[in-house]
């Protein structure tokens, strides 16, 4: 009964969305003027209906109702509760429903937070958001209903893929979707503004918090997914330029560019049509990601194996929405005259260059993802695009953008003084050179190529970090005025500035971690008998014992490994191999030896039977500075969140300020 109620609620959400669209359309005619304001209430009830549908699905998972097909395929009575719940979004159907819930909730949030928006713009935004809602809710309801029944109901479920039974992965999809779908609001704002034909600085101000929130969620979601790959897969890689990873990275890059161009638009009334273009592009890439993952054109851990028909439906939705958005843009963009003019050397120029470079980087990721697919479809010839391609294309573009970053932060609006800014940054440049020298001196087994990429990485990462610190020092005038006054200035800095500095430092930290980790990681592997040892990076790793340990829905072989270096015992680690009877599959559970910034971890492999007894394959991996790879994005997300709490950027504040 609950599942039927859930389906009913999903249908209700669909109908409410359609009604919202019709009301907004009707409101454009004289006879029905005023009816569009009912879209506000409808947006709330549509979100509630979708949430109830999702609650029904959650309930079915929690009580293991195997008469619901989706539960039967993705759950199991023995699964821990966390993974029963996360199973609700572990499949194509369930995650589509989550997508709809988030999409409609954002619609409700526009109503709740948009009191300060001009009425006609707000209703158009709601109308577009509802149109998206109707398309996706309709798709979920008619082609992928997660609440559909199965008859006869099986006695036991198939269980969720054990690889996905992991805390990081339980939260990865919701975070990612909050980001993907958050960009729909930006899309709706862009389409609404294009329909209105009016685009001014306040538009940029209204769009910024939504972009920022979506960007924070995307950052966290991607970082969590990458962290999962890093330790669950047990290979020590955290980014593989896999098409599905790229699919989540492209909206992030577009949103990053949008965040920066919206600043120029807000402050200087320039770059209008470019900003709107990015706003349309960001959600288009979100939808493209959804299509790529679900269409069956890609195979990957994250991809849902789904029949091509549903993929084609998603492609149709993508073409309708993006097509309509960009057609409208093509028709209206010419009439958006930009106001602010600026000199070649100015913060505007620096931000334009930043956008250009991020866009080039986005182009490389997009090409690298789609080119092999298109080429195989057109010519039948298969090619591979992987790390070497991105190192030659993506990395230089982002590298140059990072060289520009500290300049942009210190440059004045309208007309900047390059010489003056360089004078302020000389210290930061010197420190990054020093960092590079020290870093290279400390590196073991240096080769020319390794030295080159490490050197560039140290210089860039250091430059971004020290440059951002320098910017903070300029703003607070620390060491130039009494400390008390500098502290006052520090506290008076807007949260948005603190957030920006933190996010940029996070980027620098990430670059340092990424470059060091990729270039200097070490590993050792051997088949060990109990009592034997291997050595990695000066650590002696001894296999002490292997025990049988039962888990909630698996049986595990657990190794006891002790790690010693010159200073004595460092730690004891217990990696596992887990056998899941429900899906008869094996996962490896790595054991981490906690070090402050480095990672030292162990993987237990397959036992090999020899006449003298079992030999266990033990793999020891040493990843210097690996912690920074995930700490950097965390800082970025923290910076974004700080900025989100800046009073000036809150929704509606602009309009309220005017009234006062």
């Amino acid at each position: 009964m609950i599942a039927e109620l859930g389906t009913f609620c999903l249908g209700l959400a669909f109908v409410l969305c359609v009604a919202q669209v019709l009301l907004v359309l009707a409101g454009q005619f004289k006879a029905c003027r005023g009816v569009e304001r009912f879209s506000e209430g409808l947006s709330l009830s549509a979100a509630l209906a979708a949430a109830l549908a999702f609650a029904a699905l959650l309930y079915a998972f929690v009580v293991s109702d195997f008469s619901v097909a989706n539960v039967a395929h993705n759950s199991h009575t023995l699964k821990p509760m966390l993974y029963k719940v996360s199973g609700a979004w572990g499949s194509h159907e369930g995650s589509m429903l989550l997508w709809c819930v988030i999409l409609l909730s954002y619609g409700a949030l526009i109503t709740l937070f948009g009191r300060g928006l001009p009425e006609s713009l707000k209703h158009k935004v709601l109308g577009v958001q509802a149109l998206l809602g109707a398309l996706f809710a309709g798709f979920t309801l008619f082609s992928s209903n997660p609440l559909a029944r199965i008859d006869p109901a099986p006695f036991e479920g198939h269980s969720l893929n054990p690889m996905l039974q992991d805390p990081a992965l339980a939260f990865h999809p919701p975070l990612l979707y909050l980001g993907y779908v958050g960009l729909s609001v930006v899309f709706s704002f862009a389409v609404a503004a294009l329909i209105e034909g009016r685009l001014d600085r306040s538009w940029a101000r209204w769009v910024r918090p939504w972009t920022l929130a979506a960007w924070v969620f995307l950052t966290l979601g991607i970082a969590l997914g990458s962290f999962w790959a890093y330790y669950e897969l047990g290979w020590g890689g955290w980014w593989f330029w896999d098409p599905v990873e790229n699919a989540s990275f492209m909206p992030w890059l577009a949103a990053t560019a949008l965040l920066h161009s919206a600043i120029v638009m807000e402050k200087r009334d320039a770059l209008k049509s470019w900003t709107v273009f990015l706003a349309l592009l960001a959600f288009t890439f979100s939808m493209m990601g959804a299509f790529l993952v679900r269409s069956g054109v890609l195979t990957s851990v994250h991809a849902f194996a789904v029949d091509p028909q549903r993929g084609i439906l998603l492609l149709v939705i993508l073409f309708i929405t993006a097509g309509a958005g960009f057609t409208l843009y093509a028709l209206r963009a010419g009439s958006l005259n930009s106001g602010g003019v600026f000199a070649n050397v100015s913060r505007e120029s620096a931000l334009v260059l930043n956008n250009l470079l991020i866009f080039v980087a986005l182009t490389t990721v997009c090409l690298g993802t789609l080119y092999p697919l298109l080429m195989e479809a057109v010519t039948g010839q298969a090619i591979s695009v992987g790390e070497p391609y991105y190192v030659l294309s993506f990395v230089p573009a982002m590298g140059v953008a990072m060289v520009l970053l500290p300049f942009a932060g210190l440059m004045a609006w309208k007309r900047g003084n390059l010489k003056g800014v360089w004078k302020q940054l000389v210290g930061a440049a010197g420190l990054s050179v020093l960092l590079a020298i020290i870093g290279l001196a400390l590196t073991r087994d240096l080769t020319a190529l390794k030295g080159l990429s490490l050197g560039i990485g140290f210089l860039l990462g250091g430059w971004v970090v020290f440059g951002s610190v320098q910017m903070l020092m300029e703003r607070t005038q620390v060491f130039k005025i009494p400390a008390k006054d500098a502290w006052k200035r520090f506290k008076a800095l807007p949260l948005a500035t603190h957030g920006m500095l933190l996010a940029h430092i996070g980027l620098g930290v990430f670059v340092l971690g990424a470059v060091v980790e990729t270039n200097t990681r070490l590993s050792a592997v051997d088949n060990l008998r109990i009592g034997e040892q291997i050595t990695v990076a000066g650590y002696q790793v001894t296999l002490k014992d292997v025990n049988q340990v039962p888990g909630p829905n698996y049986d595990a072989d657990q190794a006891v490994i002790t790690v010693r270096n010159a200073g004595g015992q460092v730690c004891e680690a217990r990696p596992e191999r887990r056998f899941y009877a429900a899906s008869s599959s094996v996962t490896t559970e790595v054991a981490l030896c906690f070090r402050p910034v480095d990672d030292l971890y162990f993987v237990l492999g397959e036992p090999v039977m020899t006449p003298e007894g079992a030999r266990w394959q033990v793999r020891a991996l040493y990843h210097p500075l690996a912690r920074l790879v995930f700490f950097g994005p965390l800082l970025m997300a923290l910076g974004g969140t700080l900025s989100l709490f800046d009073r000036r950027l809150r929704l509606g504040v602009a309009a309220k300020g005017k009234k006062a």
């Binding site: 790390e387 030659l392 094996v586 996962t587 490896t588 394959q617």
Partner: protein
């Protein structure tokens, strides 16, 4: 990310050895040759895996491919020769760095084209020089402006 598939394959076909890649026994004696081999491993795709290079793959075929590469290095082939040998045997698919040919022209040069077009548009954006001259401010307006700028300096980001 393809590792799940690999692991499944590994279990299905008994390719076991889940957590293994370059084994200690695979290290080449000459450190220069070893460095070259390791660079090449990262460019070469494990042909039965989804999206994985042979440096990280534990599949038997990846080990075979690594052995072939070491053999070629010892025979004195250049990196380019080795890439060509691999391509002849497995097709373009085997290299993660796509070869430059008419079919991949756009892949390699579109980003540069975007950069150039964007750069040209950037250089043709309206400049300060074209801005209209603004009438001089009166003393009272000047004072107000200074105050506003002062406030703005304290708040702006």
């Amino acid at each position: 990310m393809s590792r799940k598939i690999l692991i499944l394959l590994a279990m299905i076909f008994g390719l076991t050895q889940i957590a293994s890649a370059v084994l200690p026994s695979e290290v080449m004696r000459d450190p220069d040759q070893d460095a070259r081999a390791r660079m090449l491993y990262r460019e070469v795709r494990c042909v039965v895996c989804q999206n994985e290079n042979i440096a990280g793959s534990s599949a038997d075929i990846a080990a075979d491919m690594r052995r072939d590469i070491r053999l070629h290095i010892r025979e004195g082939l250049s990196d380019a020769d080795i890439r060509q040998t691999l391509r002849d045997r497995y097709g373009d698919y085997v290299l993660f760095r796509p070869a430059l040919n008419p079919a991949t022209l756009a892949l390699w040069f579109l980003p540069v084209t975007v950069l150039i077009i964007g750069g040209v548009i950037f250089l043709r954006l309206p400049r300060k020089a074209t801005a209209v001259d603004v009438a001089e401010l009166s003393a009272e307006e000047r004072a107000r402006l200074d105050k506003l700028l002062e406030d703005d300096n304290n708040r702006s980001s």
